[in-house]
Amino acid sequence: MNAPLLRVTDLKVRFGPVLAVNGVSLDVPAGPFGLGLVGESGSGKSTIGRAILRLVPSSGGSIVFGGASVGSLRGAALKAYRRDAQIVFQDPDNTLDPRMRIGATLSEALRTHGVVPHRDLQARAGELLAEAGLDPAFAERYPHQLSGGQRQRVAIARALSVQPRLLVLDEPTSALDVRTQAHILKLISRLRDERKLAYLLITHNFGVVSELCEQTAVLYLGKIAELGPTDVLLRAPAHPYTVALRSAVPEVDAAGRRSRIVLAGDPPQAASPPPGCVFHPRCPLAIDRCRAEVPALREVAPGHHAACHRAEEVLAGTALAPRSEPGPASP
């Protein structure tokens, strides 16, 4: 069996008193492959992406890329890793230096790693822009002369300029208009096939992971609640949070025809996580065991893992009876 391109084992990331990522393990095989990280605010999904790229220090666990431990890389080895793993951020408005022309931004990336000789910098920048669906003439422009979608394309081009094997996409389309979103997603799909890219797609949108990711992990308060093939996870979830999340997502086609699982209370504070299962205070299925014992992420079906003591019941569809009236919210 081939070793995966990226193996994250029991990753922990701490910011002061807050444990933003609390024991996350996942594998990403070599491309083309997409792994979706789905969650709401406070789930730790963005932090995982940044930790993988060594943009934030990890406080525990290991990240192994191509067989080498990422955490122990220094100097030239660390710089070499930066060629292999890249990131695209969420905010198109600040993702490019406003005082640099587009061409200069791309050249900087190319020059940092000597991807092409100096005389070919301009030409390669033009090629990268064209690959991202932009006229090479954009190289002369400044970021404020581009639309949000165009800037995001430049950000993607910049990330791909160093020819990475792994791309982390942190909510790349959340700040964009509907049609622009669709174009960018199509671009990602095309690049994935052309470059045999492996990517970690961080989003809160189930439709996006459905289109672009073979596998998806659902995160809650720094832990993986459920991990499995995307279509299976969406069709037959094994964790109550996934069920609730899925039922809360509005859909054009299913409008009004779904009944919602209502979660009591507000999203939790990461600074003071509850004992036992982190989800139990809001879980409609919580039993005594959930308060006392942290559920391990275990395989409930081939390739399908869930961290829930009652996962089998959820999977069988017997546990959850959806209510359609909202319950009282706790203060």
């Binding site: 930066r82 890249q86 905010d91 230096d97 940092t112 006229d135 954009f138």
Partner: protein, 297 residues
């Protein structure tokens, strides 16, 4: 599907007319401010040729022309020892603005690197730099400058050093805030993710995006430094008579203000015009350097 850039409306709107008129229309602040600053420099260089009574900038005294009001012979009048004020104001362009520029240059040379280091690198370096800065900032500026100037021999050099020593901490604080803010932006994080060296990030991204408030502050401070220098000179701790320092001229002329208003007014106007011109220049440069507002391609 390739997207092409449409013609940006800004490019299509260059004003018509001669080159100078176009430059002015494109950036009036820069042309007026820059023009006056240039004029001041020219006057400073050609002072001996422009001043009607060059000796009056030095030790000359004319007991029979004391305190004459503005006239054909003396456009700005004469002072309490009969010296031609116009000549002294003209020679003053070699003193006050020069001191201001040197002081601010020193303050920037010290303040900017410290501020960038503190803001971008953070951690213990940030703490160390800011605590030292705080100590300097805790002193009332004029008092500190006084203290420094009094232990040094009274001269223009001591004056310059004393004021520069008081000025740099403000710039550290200003730049640190900006640098810290820029350091947190996605495009800087993208550079880190790309493995761009820290030095290059500072030089190419942090500095250019942090300097704008400094530019404006420096242009405003020209007037402030001139006035601080005048206060110190008045107390005898900097420029000495007969040096034609504008601030010293204003300070000395105060006691003659009623009814001999011209001793204070003309040097005072010179300070005003200089401060204002640098202020406009600063604003103009800020606009010029902003890709969003410039008309240059």
């Amino acid at each position: 599907m390739i997207e092409s850039p449409a013609i940006a409306p800004a490019d299509a709107a260059l004003p018509r007319g001669s080159a100078m008129w176009r430059a002015f229309r494109a950036n009036p602040l820069l042309t007026v401010g820059g023009g006056v600053v240039l004029l001041i420099m020219v006057v400073a260089i050609f002072a001996p040729l422009l001043a009607p009574f060059p000796g009056d900038a030095g030790n000359a005294t004319h007991p029979f022309s004391v305190l004459h009001g503005p006239s054909a012979a003396h456009w700005f009048g004469t002072d309490q020892v009969g010296r031609d004020i116009l000549s002294r104001v003209i020679y003053g362009t070699r003193v006050s603005p020069v001191i201001a520029v040197i002081v601010l240059a020193i303050a920037c040379v010290i303040g900017v690197p410290l501020g960038v280091a503190a803001g971008f690198l953070g951690g213990w370096l940030d703490e160390a730099i800011m605590r030292v800065t705080d100590v300097f900032l805790a002193f009332p500026p004029l008092l500190l400058a006084l203290a420094l100037a009094s232990v040094l021999p009274a001269s223009l050099t001591s004056l310059t050093i004393a004021i520069a020593a008081v000025w740099w901490p403000w710039y550290v604080r200003l730049i640190r805030g900006q640098a810290a803010s820029v350091a947190g932006r996605p495009y800087v994080e993208a550079c880190r993710a790309l493995g761009v060296s820290r030095l290059r990030i500072i030089w190419r991204h942090i500095l250019p995006n942090s300097l704008t408030p400094l530019l404006v502050q420096v242009s405003l401070d020209v007037g402030g430094v001139i006035l601080t220098a005048s206060a110190l000179s008045f107390l005898g701790l900097g420029a000495q008579d007969p040096t034609p320092d504008w601030g010293l001229m204003v300070a000395d002329g105060q006691s003659y203000f009623t009814p001999d208003w011209w001793l204070v007014t003309f040097p005072g106007l010179a300070i005003l015009v200089t401060a204002f011109a640098f202020n406009l220049l600063g604003d103009g440069l800020r606009d010029l350097l902003d890709p969003r507002r410039s008309f240059l391609p």
